[in-house]
Amino acid sequence: MSAITTPSGQPLGADAGAGHGSQPDAVPAPRGRRRTELLMLVFVVGVVVLAYANVGLGLNGKIPAGMFEYGLAFAVLVGAAHLAVRWLAPYADPLLLPLAALLNGLGIVMIYRLQESGRDGNPGNVISTMSTSTTTFQVVYSALGIAAFVAVLAFIRQPRTLQRYTYTLGAVGLVLLALPALLPSSISEVPGTGAKIQIALGGFTVQPEEFAKLCLAVFFAGYLVAKRDVLALAGRRILGIDLPRARDLGPVLIAWGASLVVLIFESDIGTSALFFGLFVVMMYVATQRSSWLIIGFLLFLFGSLVTAELFQHVRDRFIIWLDPFKYVHTVTPSSYQTVQGLYGMGFGGVLGRGLGQGQPYLTPLVQSDFITTAFGEELGLAGMMALLIIYGLIVQRGLRAAIAVRDPFSKLLAGGLAFVVALQVFVIVGGVTGLIPLTGITTPFLSQGGSSLISSWMLIALLMRISDTARRPAPQPIQDEGMTQVVRAG
């Protein structure tokens, strides 16, 4: 674990210099560890195939048809990803791909389980929002996700190259974010929720915010790397906190305003919180000034309270959160979905009902925002904690790459991407388990839907690219009797 830590006694100034010249000490002889990755991927495929078999046994006592095909398809997909990593990012972190693959695989299994509910004499009700081809689509999306993963690794050979497109990607991100708000509701509204967050055309829907997230993370990293020295300039010191100068507040206020616009025009509290949180934390990492965290948090709190005061749909979320059981049978606000999710988790208890043996179909739209409650119901507290720890490990590996990489842009980008995973999991899992007010965003890798899955795979690819850069052995000067120095290209 101590492989890539900087010495703790390092002076602040040197650290703020993003480790220029500071050698990450005690990096062991760099190894790709691709064999470790392969071994864990074999394990992942095993777990996913067994879970798939378990669903069939739980539902009707039979091994489900297509287990071999699905298992093979999944194995081929993760195998392809593994080969691509061997070829394109041989020094990348060996844990990220297996962790992501496990989540993706379990997501497919759960979607299959929900799709089969009530069909072909299985117990439970048919979930009307799912068709018999939902799982097939999810497998196709997974293939697209892994293709996107490979493409990111192939096209972005050096994370720093992204820095060139800082403003381009910033503009693309903003357009993607704003697009659903500008389109008519018939195209952009998620039916029944009032949230304008998608683009639905010809039976296919895209949630542009999922990709906006990645674009804006790159933009924030590039922008903050360029501006961090100015932003880090302290103004006054109050209560032991260095407050920034008033004129430097501009960017954070713009980000805050943009997140409020998303909130108001797209009725999407979760995404709004996600982007603002991402920006504030990246700003903090770039400047090292904890005052940004505090200012950001206060602005967010103020913004949510004001919008809760002004907008009924925001207020309803708070009201439901405070007493979900009071609004089970009311129409607005209605906590029916939240309460069914909680019932499901309670029903699962510590060890769960077993795959195929719970009643997750009682929770409306369980296959998207509430999919973690289905896991909680069928795999229990144990399974729920395992999922959270998998996410936690992804975040931890991402932050580790951020700490290890030398280039400040990559550092900031990796830190931001890792944090956005943590924040997204916190917002959605915290929402469905009643910890915080519910805001509908997807659960990375698990929820049904292509956009989230593809963008999550791209995010993993970026983290692996950065960790590959960080772990790649530095070009060794070959000293040939003091005569010439040949620098081997990295």
Binding site: T6, L12, D15, A16, A18, G19, V281, Y284, V285, A286, Q288, S290, F325, V328, H329, L342, Y343, G344, M345, G346, F347, G348, G349, V350, G358, Q359, L362, G376, G380, L381, M384, M385, L388, I389, Y391, G392, V395, Q396, L399, A402, I403, P408, K411, L412, G415, A418, F419, A422, L423, V425, F426, V429, G430, T433, G434, L435
Partner: protein, 491 residues
């Protein structure tokens, strides 16, 4: 930037720890309270997967049991007692449970912690999980008689019989009633239809008149007023009290009169005489002398103004507010004004007198038996209060005996020994005025216990809404219940 990144890792750690603690809370600690929330479809459908415990009467008549319904693959509840036992058993559906089905749900469904060991043993020995059997205190003969007699009146009403020595409820009937089998169907559409029909029925059959509805007690409240007087030490049954034909009330133009405006003896009578013929003026005057506070204290000791009484399901509170206006105190002393009681409360009045002044806590569940026939819980008999000393209780008892045994007593014709086949009953009638300016039909009230010439075995409270005079409508019902119960004891 690494220092900030480490801080960010710490923030992420806090976020994940918060999530982990929260899921532990929801799935570990809160799971059972979530499971017991009404409307939790998961718990309910899971509960239909195993056999719910039976409910039986004290004499082992089964009034609720479950069998496997092959069509649905779920256990189906049956209520062989039907409408007769509906106010006792209640029903068990997804969105609501009532009666014993609700109050004893944990035992019937086998989720009570006391049953865990049995469940574990069953699990090991491979026996299917089964709920515990709940044995009621109800006597089937008394229950059947109570329902039949109420039904025969065709009017709304309730009957409750208690064993005065123990507090065990022997009968608890209400009319109009409903067949709980209608709500036990596993067919969701049918259930919806039946439920809507019962809910929209203007007769409100789902409402238990025995425990959930209150009525004015009328003259039966004179038991409480007399008790209050006796407990001051200044009065006994032979104390001479004023009993004018008309009692002038301060600040009110309308005087208090006796039933049909009759005179009460010579206008100054012994309390026992006033009680026997039920003079309103004597007790109105007595009430004003005792005061609202004293009457309220006595009423509380008889179990009124108690919103927390459970038998084990909750019982509607019988009310005796604190009156300060003397005119209202006079009316309240004869069971008018805002006084309201349940038939159970009426039975408790008589039971306290029958048990030498000690009121036992009424209860409906005798014991809970695990599927392997070991008793899991037995209800302990506890005294609720002692409204009277034995001597004072003996005084009230003598007055209540006079009501049925004296030829001038209000219930002599209907509950005297000639009407009861030799059983000696002590009781008090009530005819409560109703409606605006008393334009409605009178409610008939009767509270009594028997046998009054030896150790009393049963105390009965009867209220028939719009039944007219208590002696005419309610006393015969009480007599039938007493006869049925005492006969079943003789067997």
């Amino acid at each position: 930037m690494n220092r900030a990144l480490r801080r960010v890792s710490l923030i992420c750690l806090v976020l994940f720890v918060a999530l982990l603690i929260n899921v532990n809370w929801v799935q570990g600690f809160e799971a059972s309270s979530l499971a017991s929330k009404p409307g939790n479809g998961r718990t309910f459908s899971a509960s239909l997967q195993f056999q719910r415990g039976s409910i039986v009467t004290a004499d082992q008549k089964v009034v609720a049991y479950s069998t496997m319904n092959k069509n649905f693959g779920e256990y189906q509840r049956h209520y062989p007692g039907g409408a007769v036992y509906a106010p006792v058993t209640g029903f068990d559906t997804l969105f609501s449970q009532t009666g014993i089905e609700q109050a004893e749900n944990k035992d019937l469904s086998g989720t009570d912690p006391a049953l865990e060991v049995h469940n574990l043993l069953d699990l090991i020995s491979g026996k299917p999980k089964k709920g515990a059997t709940v044995e009621l205190t109800i006597n089937s003969a008394a229950q059947q008689a109570a329902y039949n007699e109420l039904k025969a009146t065709g009017k709304q009403g309730g009957v409750v019989a208690i064993n005065p020595q123990t507090g065990a409820i022997l009968a608890l009937a209400s009319y109009p009633s409903f067949d709980p089998n209608l709500l036990a169907t596993l067919d969701g559409n049918k259930l919806q239809k039946n439920d809507n029909r019962l809910l929209s029925d203007p007769n409100q059959p789902l409402l238990s008149r025995a425990t959930a509805v209150t009525f004015p007690p009328g003259s039966s409240f004179k038991i409480v007023t007399s008790s209050a007087a006796f407990s001051t030490g200044k009065y006994n049954q032979n104390t001479v009290v004023p009993a004018p034909t008309q009692l002038k009330l301060p600040g009110v133009s309308q005087p208090l009169i006796n039933f049909d405006g009759e005179a009460c003896g010579t206008g100054r009578v012994r309390l026992i005489y006033a009680f026997t013929v039920s003079c309103n003026t004597a007790f109105g005057d007595l009430g004003m002398k005792l005061g609202g506070q004293k009457l309220r204290t006595q009423a509380n000791q008889f179990g009124m103004n108690n919103p927390n009484l459970t038998i084990p399901f909750p019982v509607a509170e019988s009310n005796f507010p604190l009156y300060t206006d003397p005119a209202k105190v006079a009316g309240a002393a004869i069971g008018q004004e805002s006084d309201t009681v349940t038939p159970l409360q009426e039975a408790m009045f008589a039971a306290a007198i029958a048990n030498n002044g000690t009121l036992m806590k009424p209860f409906l569940v005798n014991k809970v038996t695990a599927p392997d026939l070991t008793a899991v819980a037995t209800t302990a008999q506890t005294a609720l209060s002692q409204p009277l000393t034995p001597t004072e209780a003996a005084g009230v008892k003598q007055m209540m005996l006079n009501v049925t045994q004296s030829t001038s007593g209000t219930a002599h014709a209907t509950a005297g020994t000639q009407a009861t086949g030799g059983i000696v009953i002590a009781g008090k009638t009530g005819t409560a005025q109703n409606g605006i300016n008393n334009s409605g039909l009178d409610d008939a009230v009767f509270t009594c216990f028997a046998p009054a010439n030896s150790t009393p075995q049963i105390a009965v409270g009867v209220i028939v809404k719009g039944g007219g005079q208590g002696a005419d409508a309610s006393a015969p019902i009480a007599v039938k219940v007493i006869q049925a119960y005492l006969a079943s004891l003789g067997k």
